[in-house]
Every structure is written in C-alpha cells, then in structure tokens.
C-alpha cells in the first residue's frame, strides 16, 4: 500500500469535490472510461470528495457534463505540483545544476591516499613516486590506472615485493608487501684475505680468523694484506689451510682538502623586490589566482600554506598557498683576509664532508695555511678519522 501511495505521490494527484445529484453516475462513467478514482468519501447528500490522477482529472470533463456534476479542485498533491513551484525560480535551477555538478566532481576525485603494510620511512618515497606522476589528493579517478601506478611504485621503490593499488570510493589504497633483503653471506668455503681499503695507521685489530700480517701501530698502504687467509701450521710438514679471514681493523685515516683563498666572494643579496603568487589550494591541487610568472632572473621562493580551519579544529581541504619569490642578485664582495680565510675553510670542510665515508668518525681536524710562490694563500684542512679499513680479497695461489 505504501508503494501505491508513493507512486501516486510521484505521479501527482488532485483531491476534488464533486457536487450534484448524480454522483453515482459520475463515478460509473469515470470507471467505464478508465479514470481511476480512489478514496471516495461522501461529504453530504449532494457532494463527495475523491482523489484522481492528473490525467484522470483532465478526462473528467465529459463525465461531469453527462452526469450534471460540478468538479472543484480542493487540493493539488504530489511531486509534479511541488516541482511546479520551482519552475519559475531560476536561482533554484542554477543551484540544482551547480549542486549536482559539485557532487559529481567531488565523487570523481581522490580525497585520501592510504598506504598500508609498509614501514613508515618508506611512505615519503612512495609519495614522491606518486608526486612525480602528479597523482595526489584531488586528482581525478578516471585518469588513474592502478596497474600502471603499481608498476611504477614497484620499479622505483626499493625493497618492495608486491604492490597493490586500488581505488575504493574516493580513497586510493596502496597496499605494500615489503621484502627483506637477504643478509650478506660470508662464504666460509672460500678463502679470503683482509686488505686495507685505504692508507692509514692501524690503531686496533680484532682478528677472528686468519693470520695477522701486521701489528697495531703500523702504517699500512692501500691494498696491503692485513690478515692473511692462509693458516700456516707451526710444523711445516703439515702444510697450510686456507680460511675466510675475518676481522675488524680500526685505523686512523686522513683526508685533506686544499683551496686557494680568494679575496673576492660572490654573495647573494636580496634586492627587496618580492613577487607574490597566490594559489587556491584544494587538497593537493593548486590553482593560480593571482601573479603571473616570476619576473626575476634569480630568486628564492618561500612557500606558505594557509588552510582554512573549520569549527572545532576541523581541517578543511581548501585554502591558499602563497609563494613569496624574492629577487636575488649576486654581488662580488671584497673581503678582508680573515673573512676570506673563514669562507675558504668553510668551503673546504663542506667538500671534505662529502668525501668521508659514512661509518667513520672524525677524531681531529687541522687547518694549515701556506703561501705559494706566486703569493696566493692556500688553506689546507685535514680531517683525522677513525674507521674500519678491512676489505676482502680472494687468496691467490702463490
């Protein structure tokens, strides 16, 4: 019954009052002409109220004439009449169109990206792969091909065994199964010597297997055998045996960097001119609002995000991104000798830090200053480090 009511409501109906003597005749004619009437109630001796569909009401006129009844509409009910009210309201229609467009748009984009099943430190790497492809929150679902994304992630991120990419609703799920790298195997059945990886002064030796060839405190050259993998027996009659030499050789090593001191220093100076570019930001997408291309040759950019915060600390996905680009001019500055030396030392240290291996610790640093024949001053920075210089080399038959 509910369905019938709903159907009637959707189609629209009218409640009418029929007055006259021949109401029965009116009802009979209507039923013969396939005009559906329902909920007929006798109001008094000369009138009755009933409900009829819109189509039925239009066809009712001959029936009313034949039976000599008058038909009045008491009430119009249903969806068509309800919608008719909005027919003339332009704003309502526009709003309806905008609403449905926004709804479609918001449903067809990615609102959130979830990475499941990997170590937290891998997430930035995965995100950078996505960013390189311009995939982020706010990109359209249609443009995404999960298979291609999965392939890209699997290729570009190390230590991944399997990647599953799935778009579920407005969320992008990236499921990752990371692989564990096999440990470095020590091949015990092959013979190896320990050789020096670089020049140094041996401070400490811990030999687990093999015959030490040097003592603590000796200076070694690069490539020199430190621990031999050949075990000689005390009694020469028994011959020798080859083993895999193992051990730690902690040695002092030195790294040096020399640089000429230049009295002229190129300094980056801000001119004070600032170019502002404002973007409207929605999720991870940016739309430029004001400010064209940056008119400077060299500039530094500071980006600032201003996201709209709703009530109760709710973070909304819309906001502004302001890029302040300040012009930079390179200027040659004359320095005093002290300043120049300081600058050179800083540069030399920077270069050194790039060269020093990661597992070594800096123990001491020395700064020397000397003058060449042509009058240029050189700065030499020496870093003294401690590190394990043990390297492996197969035992060769002699």
């Amino acid at each position: 019954m509910f369905l019938v009511h709903l159907w009637n409501y959707i189609r629209g109906y009218v409640i009418i009052i029929v007055t006259g003597r021949g109401i029965e005749r009116f009802i009979n004619i209507c039923s013969k002409r396939q005009i559906l009437l329902w909920d007929i109630e006798r109001a008094d001796a000369a009138s009755a109220t009933m409900k009829a569909s819109i189509r039925g009401f239009r066809l009712m006129r001959p029936a009313a004439k034949k039976s000599g009844c008058r038909v009045h509409i008491k009430k119009r009910c249903g969806l068509p009449f309800f919608l008719y009210r909005f027919k003339r309201r332009k704003g309502f229609k526009v709003g309806l169109v905008i609403f449905s467009a926004l709804l479609m748009l918001s449903v067809s984009i990615i609102w959130d990206i979830e990475v499941i099943g990997c170590k937290p430190e891998m997430i930035p790497e995965i995100m950078s792969v996505l960013n390189a492809d311009n995939i982020g929150r706010g990109s359209f679902k249609i443009k995404l091909d999960p298979k291609i994304i999965a392939k890209k992630i699997a290729l570009n991120v190390e230590q991944i065994a399997w990647v599953g990419v799935e778009v579920r609703g407005v969320k992008l799920f990236i499921t990752i199964k990371d692989s564990i790298e096999p440990p470095v195997l020590i091949k015990n059945d092959e013979a190896f010597n320990i050789v020096a990886e670089r020049d140094g002064l041996v401070k400490k030796m811990e030999v687990y297997a093999g015959t030490p060839q040097i003592k603590e405190g000796e200076t070694v050259r690069k490539g020199q055998v430190l621990v031999s993998g050949r075990l000689e027996s005390k009694n020469p009659e028994f011959g020798s045996r080859d083993v895999h030499a193992l051990g730690k050789i902690i040695a002092r090593t030195w790294y040096e960097e020399s640089m000429p001191v230049s009295m002229v220093y190129t300094q980056k100076l801000k001119t004070g001119k600032i170019h502002k570019t404002v973007y409207f930001r929605f999720l991870d997408r940016r739309f430029k609002i004001s400010g064209g291309d940056v008119p400077f040759e060299m500039y530094e950019t500071v980006t600032e995000d201003k996201m709209v915060t709703g009530p109760f600390g709710l973070k909304l996905p819309i906001g502004l991104t302001v890029e302040n680009s300040s012009e930079v001019v390179e200027k040659q500055v004359e320095l005093t000798l002290d300043e120049a030396i300081d600058v050179t030392i800083e540069k030399a240290k920077e270069n050194l830090h790039k060269r020093i291996p990661a597992d070594s610790t800096v123990v001491d640093e020395m700064i020397k200053q000397y003058e060449a024949d042509n009058g240029t001053i050189y700065i030499q920075v020496v870093y003294e480090c401690e590190e394990d210089i043990a390297g492996l080399e197969p035992v060769t038959e002699k």
Binding site: I23, E24, S31, K32, L37, W38, D39, I40, R42, A48
Partner: protein, 106 residues
C-alpha cells in the same frame, strides 16, 4: 398438450439456475472458478473493514451508510458506517469502512 409443455418447461426451469449461460455450465463442468468464465460477481470480505467486489456493473447508490452495487446477479447492498470507496476501476470496487451487512437483491 399445453399443460404438458408447461410441465416440461417448468421441469427444465427447476433444473437450470436462472441466468446460467452455456459458458458457465461449461465452466462448472471443467471445474473452472465461476468468476473467470462468465460475469458473475465475486465478493471478498477482508475482516470487517474491506469488501472487494469484482465483475460489477456499476454503483447505483452511494451514501456514507449504504452502498448499492449493480451486478449481473442482481444488486448487492453493503451497509455500515462511514463507508468509502477506496478504489474503483472498470471491473473492481473496494469498499472500506465499518461494514455491518452485505445483502443480495436489496
């Protein structure tokens, strides 16, 4: 002679129900429900509040305490309180309200 004819006719009339057509007799022979073959009314009362009459010809009288409906088997009168016609189509009428009587030939 005349009497005999009368008697024969009378005998026939007794056997045959009034208004029983060939189709209806066939229907009875093959045990088909009567309302399908022929146009005899089918009255269904559901509880006290609803009466459904199929195969009706038209309404003759409609008051809030009495509704008279014309059918092929005569007039059916439904009396009660606050009677309404819930729905009316070409061959079906649903009467609602508090029903007290359903009378034939009234």
């Amino acid at each position: 002679m005349k009497r005999g004819i009368y008697r024969i006719k009378g005998a026939r009339d007794k056997k045959k129900e009034p208004g029983e057509s060939l189709g209806e007799r066939l229907a009875r022979l093959f045990e088909i429900p009567g309302e399908i073959c022929g146009n005899r009314p089918k009255v269904t009362a559901i509880g006290r509040g609803e009466v459904l009459i199929e195969n009706f010809k038209g309404i003759m009288d409609f008051q809030s305490d009495m509704i008279r409906i014309n059918t092929n088997n005569g007039i059916i009168k439904v009396t009660g309180e606050g009677l309404t016609i819930r729905e009316i189509t070409n061959d079906e009428i649903i009467i609602g309200g508090k029903i007290s009587n359903i009378d034939y030939d009234a």
